[in-house]
């Protein structure tokens, strides 16, 4: 594979702390200060109770694969031809919430649902991205 590509996000004031934390190698999810709901993706209010008093929780970065797909078409344009095939995953984080990400590493093609994965933060251009790798066996 050529160097990794990623389309940069366009964060809002509410989501910028998530991306800034990724740049530091940390995975932060918002948690409601009123009801304790931990959720993804960042918003300005808690989608469970509506409260706006939110904080950030550092995630372990460990999770399991809920579903995955090996992508064989460059939907984001011909610049992505060198990425093919790449693997998109839905990861259930150990703490609960599910997030969409990309699985990288030489053994990504062998992934099966339920596999243990852990977050990594490769630098691509100006940012670091919360991608995942299959966890070492054992």
């Amino acid at each position: 594979m050529l160097d990794l590509l990623a389309t940069p996000p366009n964060p809002t004031g509410a989501s910028a702390p998530f991306w800034d934390a990724c740049d530091r190698g940390e995975l932060l999810f918002p948690r409601c200060g009123r009801c304790g709901h931990l959720f993804y993706y960042p918003r300005r209010h808690c989608p469970l109770c509506g409260d706006t008093g939110l904080g950030w929780q550092r995630m372990s970065g460990r999770g399991t694969v809920f579903s995955h797909s090996h992508v064989h078409v460059a939907f984001q344009g011909a610049a992505w031809d060198g990425q093919l095939p790449y693997t998109v995953v839905l990861v259930d984080l150990a703490e609960g919430p599910r997030m969409l990400s990309r699985l990288i590493g030489g053994d990504a093609a062998a992934v099966t649902s339920g596999d243990a994965v852990s977050v990594v933060f490769p630098r691509i251009g100006e940012r670091r991205y919360p991608f995942f790798e299959r966890a070492a066996a054992g």
């Binding site: 990623a6 389309t7 366009n10 992508v71 064989h72 990425q83 839905l90 599910r98």
Partner: protein, 387 residues
């Protein structure tokens, strides 16, 4: 309340040719479909006083109902553009038309969608070239997710894992819709398909292959609604909308409920309850088939098959013409054309009138039409009945 208790009926249907319509613009396609539906119902253009449409996905427009009204040459008392999502939009258009007629805003309403998504897309585009944003870009594009195939591939992989289903289950859906399309002169795909053809088609986003994916199409479809008996040629031909159930649960695939909890089950339960019916009362299943997996999930959510047994039901022949619940006799989004599900509705009306020719479902009294937008983000189930 999902029940439709009034005497408002679908009095006319209109379809343009589908496939490639070079030289046609979206508004021209929509106008042609509306004119065809008005003719079918026996109305003059000047009778039209309600107009509801969806603007094109490939070239999004604002104020597209007024664009179409002006182009047609009408000045409706009620007009709006509806974008609920995918193939549910057609049902929401019908809801709007029923409510507008019931409340006295108009007497004759047209619901229409159409565009030149195939010939109007840029060179080199992969699949449907949507210019619309869906709101989840920040949490999808950085991870390589773009468009609708990858989310449906994630859903399909989950289905295979959850139930131990195989590619033969997905293929069965592609094969039956192709068999039906061969009986439709207005279908894009006119060659027979075998299981070997299916398995030889290239992977797009595993486990989905090219032949798991619906078509990119030019074309349009329209419906004209009015009160029963109001249409000059519609007397005794109007098709009743018995119930429409809907449910919206999420937008992006990361927040999609697991398969047993997708909104289609709630939409179907509402529609069945309102109509006082169940799957046993249905003779035609015009189900959302943007991807083969959509049909398996919908069959199970709507009670046609038990969880995990949708593929077995399709392979049994139950969804073929002559079977218990023929699936998309027109060929559906997979093999006729993807016109936003409008042709699922026009086909249901045609079948219930007994005017479907060599693909007529004998004894058809009721059709269930399902739709979903996004990744089962918004789901709809509608029951249509012969008068």
């Amino acid at each position: 309340m999902p029940a439709v208790g009034s005497d408002v009926v679908i009095a006319g249907i209109g379809e343009t040719p589908v496939g490639r319509l070079p030289g046609w613009s979206p508004v021209e396609i929509q106008a042609a479909a509306v004119l065809a539906a008005l003719r079918d119902a026996g109305f003059a253009l000047s009778d039209l006083d309600g107009l509801i449409n969806l603007d094109p996905y490939a070239t999004p427009n604002s104020m597209f109902s007024s664009t179409l009204a002006e182009h047609l040459g009408v000045a409706p008392r009620f007009a709006c553009t509806v974008d609920v999502g995918g193939t549910v939009t057609g049902m929401t258009m019908l809801q709007q038309a029923v409510w507008a007629i019931e409340s006295g805003y108009c007497d004759v309403a047209a619901c229409v969608y159409g565009e030149n998504a195939l010939t109007g897309r840029p060179a080199g585009a992969q699949g449907l070239h949507m210019h619309n944003l869906l709101g989840g870009e920040e949490w999808e594009e950085p991870f390589g997710l773009h468009g609708m195939v990858i989310p449906y591939a994630l859903l399909a992989q989950r289905y295979l894992d959850l139930y131990g289903a195989t590619d033969a289950d997905l293929a069965a859906v592609a094969l039956v819709t192709r068999r039906h399309a061969l009986l439709n002169d207005n279908a894009q795909m006119r060659k027979p398909m075998t299981l070997e053809d299916y398995r030889a088609s290239r992977l797009i986003s595993s486990p989905l292959r090219l032949l798991d994916c619906s078509l990119v199409s030019d074309g349009g479809g329209a419906l004209v609604l009015t009160r029963a008996g109001r249409a000059p040629q519609g007397r005794g031909r109007g098709v009743a909308i018995r119930a429409i159930g809907m449910k919206t649960t999420h937008n992006s695939v990361a927040l999609m409920p697991d398969i047993p909890d997708l909104g289609m089950a709630a939409a179907g339960a509402d529609a069945y309850e309102a109509a006082g019916m169940g799957p046993e009362d249905i003779q035609i299943a015009n189900l959302h088939d943007a991807f083969t997996i959509s049909v398996l999930v919908s069959l199970e959510a709507l009670g046609f098959a038990r969880p995990g047994e949708g593929g077995a039901l399709v392979r049994s022949g139950a969804m073929d013409l002559g079977g218990r619940w023929p699936l998309n006799p027109h060929g559906g989004l997979l093999s006729q054309a993807h016109i936003g599900g409008m042709l699922h509705i026009t086909e249901a009306v045609r079948q219930l009138r007994g005017e479907a020719g060599r693909r007529q479902v004998e004894g058809a009294r009721r059709a269930l039409v399902s739709g979903n937008g996004g990744i089962f983000s918004v789901c709809g189930a509608m029951i249509l009945e012969k008068p």
